[in-house]
């Protein structure tokens, strides 16, 4: 009995925190979202508004694309970095995880410096081929920016998991005739799957809600956080921005639960 109380009391700080910072504001948000003449109808309004729905779709697709690209790049790089030690190894890892230190706004600037009107690629293209190459202010720019700050998070998780891989499993597969690609498919990736899904979920959630980068690149990018911002500040449509926030949160949450259930199945299959 004592230990049960102990465990319950261990949960108290989390419960208090959740209540103060999650439950209360969320309830507040929900009430604020129906605090207009539309009432709950505001959600119907969102569902039938092409601009909102397109924006939601873009945001989800962009986040999925960023997540997949980050997983791919980080898995290959992470495995390589864990398996190969060379001079400058530590420095390279430090450089790769550097973007963690930047806020979204700074990453937006970096993308403009690279692909903006005065950006590096545009200048090169103009000088060399006499064409204009500007991608900073589009989905491409946003994709690159999000990818840039997603990679370190995924990379660190993948590397931690890759360090713990059981080498004798790979040797066993090889002894049974498996080529390196088959070892990757049958042994390494299944073992990394929980880490990939966990870090992928974080990358996805971050991309769904990222604002700073989108705000810096601005102009014609319609990701949902930007729409929420404009509804709030420009149109002063507080109910709508609250409703959109609820939708954004809900969609992200549902997709995360879906991915978690994938891990669940995987872990169950792995025992």
């Amino acid at each position: 009995m004592n230990s049960r109380y102990f465990f319950i009391s261990c949960l108290l700080p989390l419960a208090a925190f959740s209540f103060a910072f999650l439950a209360l504001p969320l309830v507040r948000l929900l009430f604020a979202s129906i605090d207009s003449e539309l009432g709950f109808g505001i959600y119907l309004e969102i569902l039938t508004n092409a601009r909102y729905m397109n924006s939601l779709l873009y945001t989800v697709l962009l986040s999925i694309a960023v997540t997949i690209a980050a997983l791919f790049i980080s898995t290959t790089a992470g495995l390589f970095l864990v398996r190969n030690h060379f001079p400058g190894h530590r420095v390279l890892i430090a450089v790769l995880t550097f973007p963690l230190a930047f806020p979204g706004v700074v990453i937006g600037f970096l993308i403009i410096l690279l692909g903006g009107r005065q950006g590096l690629t545009n200048m090169l293209a103009q000088n060399l081929f006499d064409t204009r190459v500007i991608f900073a202010y589009s989905m491409t720019g946003l994709f690159l920016g999000y990818l840039y700050f997603s990679i370190p998070r995924v990379l660190l998780t993948v590397m931690a998991a890759a360090e713990k891989l059981d080498l004798s499993l790979e040797e066993a597969a090889r002894s049974l005739g498996a080529s390196p690609t088959k070892v990757l498919r049958d042994v390494i990736l299944p073992a990394l799957t929980p880490a990939l899904i966990a870090s992928g979920a974080i990358a996805f959630a971050t991309a769904m809600g990222a604002f700073g980068t989108a705000f810096t690149l601005a102009t014609n990018i319609d990701v949902l956080p930007m729409i929420i911002y404009t509804e709030f500040t420009l149109s002063a449509n507080i109910a709508m921005s609250c409703a959109l926030s609820v939708v954004l949160g809900l969609v992200t949450w549902i997709l995360l639960i879906f991915s978690r259930s994938l891990t669940g199945n995987n872990v169950a299959a792995a025992g």
């Binding site: 059981d166 004798s168 499993l169 040797e171 066993a172 597969a173 090889r174 002894s175 049974l176 005739g177 498996a178 080529s179 088959k182 049958d186 042994v187 299944p190 073992a191 995987n266 299959a269 792995a270 025992g271």
Partner: protein
């Protein structure tokens, strides 16, 4: 015997950090033979096994042959070796059946043939009915058999086992040792297995290679190793041997507890030590022997008893004798040792 011959030609192994795990070693394993690599932890057994497997390459001069073909530079996946790892290394994301069938699946064998072969191997390894089980839901003994079944399913040329029983607890180990011995013999694949347990080596192997600090000291069949060890290390490691220290003078070996007459020409005893197996010492009345000792303890072992003697030489002497003779603590006894049971050995 059918099967593949293994030949190591002056294979040594120096790891990048400078550790010399194996000194130049040449051994032959005949087709169908079961060879045990026996030695204390860290003596290079696993390294040698991994060189045969192709998981480790020998230093430059070394060569590995399977029959007549030089496989030194062939990677493990092309060597057709079955391997059982110390930790078993079963794939956690696959069922028992998928584990056992993995090597066959890699070979792109048809699903029906895989099913038949897996059934056959599961029957052989007493794994019937466990096919759909998860690896985590198996006992230690079952895991060991799945690891073996997975290794033999693709019909490898050579079977390599690294301490296959060391992960099991003692009681189970004795039982599985005998089962493994029978199973390996029925497979008649050329087999090399690593162990630090001399009883395991003797029970399973046709020949045993005793290793110490990266050297193979002696390769012989278990009986020969026991009765004619090449040196003191082998004598002590393979079946315990008593070390008697004394002084040799004109074939008369004098010890604390008396003397022993040694045969002519045995004068080359190094360090004035001789070795005698525990069961080669007979206990007789003290008046009938030139060599005497005092009973320190007696332990009844069921089919025998172990007597520990003091005052024979500096060390205590262990004697295995019949279980029913009674010995009192402190009692004086005489020692009878046949000349042919005295092992005169190079020191290690």
């Amino acid at each position: 015997m059918s099967g593949t011959q293994i030949q190591l030609k002056s294979c040594s192994k120096t790891f990048p950090d400078g550790t010399r795990a194996l000194s130049p070693t040449s051994i032959n394993v005949s087709p169908g033979e079961i060879l045990a690599l026996l030695g204390p932890s860290g003596c290079g057994k696993t390294t040698m096994l991994r060189i045969i497997a192709g998981l480790e390459s020998p230093d430059e001069t070394g060569k590995v042959f399977f029959d007549d073909s030089d496989v030194t530079s062939i990677p493990i996946e092309k060597r057709s070796v079955g391997m059982v790892f110390q930790s078993y290394a079963l794939f956690p994301n696959m069922s028992v059946r998928e584990n056992i069938g993995y090597g066959l699946k890699i070979k792109k064998i048809s699903t029906e043939k895989i099913r038949d072969r897996v059934d056959e191997v599961m029957a052989l390894c007493q794994l019937e009915g466990l096919g759909e089980r998860n690896i985590k839901a198996l006992s230690g003994g079952q895991r060991q058999r799945v690891a073996l079944a997975r290794a033999v399913a693709p019909q490898p040329k050579i079977l390599l086992l690294d301490e296959p029983l060391s992960a099991l607890d003692a009681g189970l180990r004795d039982q599985l040792r005998d089962e493994l011995a029978i199973l390996l013999r029925s497979l008649s694949i050329t087999t090399v297995f690593v162990t630090h347990d001399q009883a395991e080596a003797m029970a399973i192997a046709d020949r045993v290679a005793v290793m110490q600090k990266g050297h193979v000291l002696q390769i012989d069949d278990p009986r020969k190793l026991y009765t004619a060890p090449d040196n003191a290390f082998v004598a002590r490691f393979v079946g315990a041997a008593n070390e008697l220290s004394g002084r040799l003078n004109n074939n008369l070996f004098s010890l604390q507890g008396g003397s022993l007459q040694l045969p002519e020409g045995i004068s080359a005893v190094s360090d004035d030590k001789i070795y005698v197996r525990q069961e080669a010492i007979k206990l007789i009345p003290p008046s009938e022997s030139e060599l005497k000792g005092k009973v320190l303890s007696s332990t009844f072992l069921g089919n025998s008893q172990k007597i520990v003697l003091s005052d024979v030489c500096e060390r205590l002497v262990n004697v295995i004798t019949d279980p029913f003779s009674k010995y009192e603590i402190g009692q004086e006894v005489g020692l009878l040792i046949q000349v042919e049971d005295i092992l005169v050995l190079r020191d290690d």
